[in-house]
Amino acid sequence: MVKIHERKFVSVDPDKCVGCQTCEYACSFTKEKAFNPVKSRIRVVRQNQLVNMAVTCRLCEEPACVAACPRDALTQSDETGIIMIDKDKCNGCGWCIEACDYGAMMLHPETKTVYSCDLCKDNPKGPQCVQWCPEEALTLVTSDTLAQKARISAIRKLFQEKKSPA
């Protein structure tokens, strides 16, 4: 069993995200063989011209979506942390959608069952949104790597400031 901080998920750097929706197109084409943002597992939010960010499943520990499902249709993979959906059990009630704080659970317009990011588990190259992102704003990381990166950039900034004349 993989521990929580060893699980990889798709992280989005809002400083780099330009809101181009390439991830949405790449995702819907990979998963549904069509260009259609309403079938994408990752969605872009442009709050205003300056704030752009794509959002997808965070692979939470003790995921609220799984807990919310009254039909036990959702389970979390012990191995990868992705949310697995039993389409036969799901009746599209939407409680998991309400439970998710990130809007990462979505109802499919045609099958009327829910779906979410599975990290393109069947594709040897990994998540296609990460592959396609022209800004390298998306990365497949563990929370531990993210914390490492944050520490390093904080220290770098601190020392650059110290080096520059007051």
Partner: protein
């Protein structure tokens, strides 16, 4: 039909009735999409001599076959087409963002809006459901405020909106149609056509799949173009952006300043693209499906205009800055924000301010005429006040809101010599006196003074020809560029991505084939491009424009460039213009009056329009 949605939506604003018709496969193949398809639909749905503000003048919204796909920049464009209230000829303006892709997913290639509503409404297209909803609460709101209000009302964040501001509501002939807050179908006054129909906005939500005819090879082409668009071909747009032109054009003495008094701006360094990027640009964002991303958002962080935010491009910066003599970037960004707020074409608005300042300095418009505004070149506050008055149509702004041609007609006193426009459309940031291929291209451009119908200026500026010389051969250069640009605006792909097409016609033909499944040779596509250029001309011929309208602003032909330097004394004489016009019409296979011949129409498979040119030959 693949690639195309296969459906055209008709909306009658008078009766509130809507219907759809199938898009004919033949029309689609002949006119491709975008402006080509839009102009064809406009011609088929209007009568000769229709007034631009008449309910009988349809406003057409058209998409290209590539719209809604993942093709870089191709997925996101849309075009508005109608009769231009500014020029009396064909009006068209293309914009990008996310709006076009949304409309394609809703299932339409084009929307034809005719008639006039008896109250302010907005059009709500929700896949198959089409409604006209009350817009009383939106009147007077900016396009940005309108978009937010509509999203709130419909309760859907992903609704995409194109709307007009106060300028469009008040029928300003320089009003534009904005989508996604910052993207404008800017030129030829189509915002006023929308306003004349009491149509405040078009809101769209589309949830259909878009599938290209050949998905796998299509994705390979997408991948290739993704890489190209992150490479040197588009570097300018990805780094400094189009504002890079400020210092380039200034150095080459081809940036008009102070209403065409000169061809360079003394304080260009202060308003350069470099200065803008270093001090103001806070974020660069992208349209849907674009790996190039070029939209530079400038924020004023301190001082009098603190908190101002606007998207900045060269033409906007030039018009509000060098052209009015203003050298404060803070104020220039504020001016761009005001244009976006009122829904004014920023280029035309800036040129109009330059015109007023010239009139004031020459004593044609007095302090009193201007309501006390001290409209001297370089006065930033006066520039901003004039734009506000234009947006609201108050005071002198009531006259100015229709652009320089209409304003000069009302002001008189020889002010027409200071009104720098072609066919009623204001000039842009290239001094035509010392760019003679561009001068020809601007003179013959079907929508008036315009750098967006060809890149003829680049032929001059890169030294591919002697830019100070008018000679035979320029006609063919302009014709070929016009046809390429007609194709770009019909497919629709972004003009900034043009460099990524290493082989223009073969690669565009390949793209068209992969999306639609219609195999078309580069030669056939070239014919379609020529057909689209000719169609635009046919509209102008039908609406009464002729060779005399293919001309240049007074100063370009009468006031030589004053500065010492390589272009001192440059201007374009009538003889030079005539030589180039003859050459261009011959290259096109048109008469020397600039009318396509019936033989030419037959060759292009456009016999159905023979009546337009026959009527002219009899007259």
């Amino acid at each position: 039909m693949l690639g195309y949605a296969g459906k055209v939506l008709y909306v009658d604003l008078s009766s509130g009735k809507t219907r759809t018709e199938k898009l004919s496969e033949e029309t689609a193949k002949k006119y491709i999409g975008g402006i080509g398809l839009g102009m064809q639909l406009w011609l088929a749905n209007s009568k000769a001599g229709v007034d631009a503000f008449s309910p009988e003048n349809p406003l057409v919204l058209a998409l290209g076959p590539v719209s809604g796909t993942m093709f870089p920049t191709g997925g996101n464009g849309h075009a508005f087409i109608s009769k231009s209230p500014a020029t009396g000829g064909v009006g068209e303006a293309v914009s990008h963002g996310t709006f076009g892709a949304e409309l394609k997913r809703a299932g339409y290639d084009a929307v034809i809006m005719s008639g006039k509503s008896d109250r302010p409404v907005y059009l709500w297209i929700d896949d198959d459901s089409v409604q006209l909803l009350d817009a009383a609460q939106l009147v007077g709101k900016s396009p940005s405020e309108t978009e937010d209000a509509i999203k709130d009302e419909l309760g859907d964040y992903y609704v995409r909106v194109a709307s007009i501001g106060l300028a469009g509501e008040k029928l300003s002939k320089i009003a534009c149609i904005l989508n996604e807050k910052t993207r404008a179908a800017g030129r030829t006054g189509l915002g006023a056509v929308m306003g004349s129909k009491n149509l405040k906005a078009i809101a769209v939500r589309g949830t259909r799949d878009i599938v290209p005819a050949q998905p796998e090879p299509f994705m390979e082409m997408v991948k290739e173009f993704h890489e190209r668009m992150k490479g040197p071909a588009t570097q300018k747009y990805r780094t400094l952006g189009t504002v890079e032109n400020v210092l380039i054009n200034n150095t080459l003495n081809c940036m008009p300043s102070n209403n065409y008094a000169n061809a360079r701006f003394e304080n260009a360094e202060k308003v350069s693209g470099e200065a803008l990027n270093e001090r103001y640009v806070s974020k660069i964002i992208a349209c849907s499906s674009c790996p190039m991303r070029c939209e530079h958002e400038a924020v004023v962080r301190e001082g009098q205009y603190k908190g101002t935010m606007a998207r900045m491009e060269y033409e906007t910066l030039w018009a509000m800055g060098p052209y009015t003599g203003v050298d404060h970037l803070d104020a220039i960004i504020k001016a761009a924000e005001l244009c976006t707020y009122y829904g004014l074409d920023a280029q035309s608005a800036g040129v109009t301010v330059g015109f007023v300042m010239d009139c004031h300095e020459k004593g044609i418009l007095t302090h009193d005429d201007l309501g006390g505004i001290d409209a001297h070149f370089g006065n930033a506050e006066a520039m901003l006040k004039l734009i506000e008055l234009m947006g609201k149509r108050e005071g002198i702004g009531n006259i100015l809101a229709d652009g320089v041609k209409a304003a000069a007609e009302k002001i008189g006193k020889g002010s027409d010599k200071l009104a720098q426009h072609i066919k009623g459309l204001e000039v842009t940031g290239y001094d035509l006196r010392c760019l003679k291929t561009a001068a020809l291209a601007f003179a013959v451009s079907f929508r008036g003074a315009d750098h967006n119908r060809t890149s003829a200026y680049a032929v001059d500026m890169k030294g591919k020809v002697d830019r100070l010389k008018a000679e035979k051969g320029r006609g063919k250069i302009v014709k070929d560029l016009e046809d390429t640009y007609a194709l770009i605006d019909s497919l629709i792909v972004c003009k900034n991505s043009r460099g990524a097409f290493y082989k223009e016609l073969p690669e565009m033909a390949k793209l068209y084939g992969l999306v639609t499944g219609y195999n078309i040779s580069p030669e056939e596509l070239a014919t379609a491009a020529e057909r689209i250029s000719t169609l635009a001309k046919l509209i102008n011929v039908r609406e009464g424009l002729s060779r005399k309208d293919d001309t240049l602003p007074w100063k370009v032909m009468n006031e030589p460039i004053p500065d010492d330097g390589p272009v001192k004394g440059a201007l374009v004489t009538q003889d030079e213009l005539d030589l180039m016009l003859d050459d261009y019409y011959q290259a096109r296979g048109w008469t020397l009056e600039g009318v396509p011949t019936t033989d030419k129409l037959k060759e292009l498979g456009m016999d159905e329009f023979s009546n337009i040119v026959e009527a002219k030959q009899e007259a």
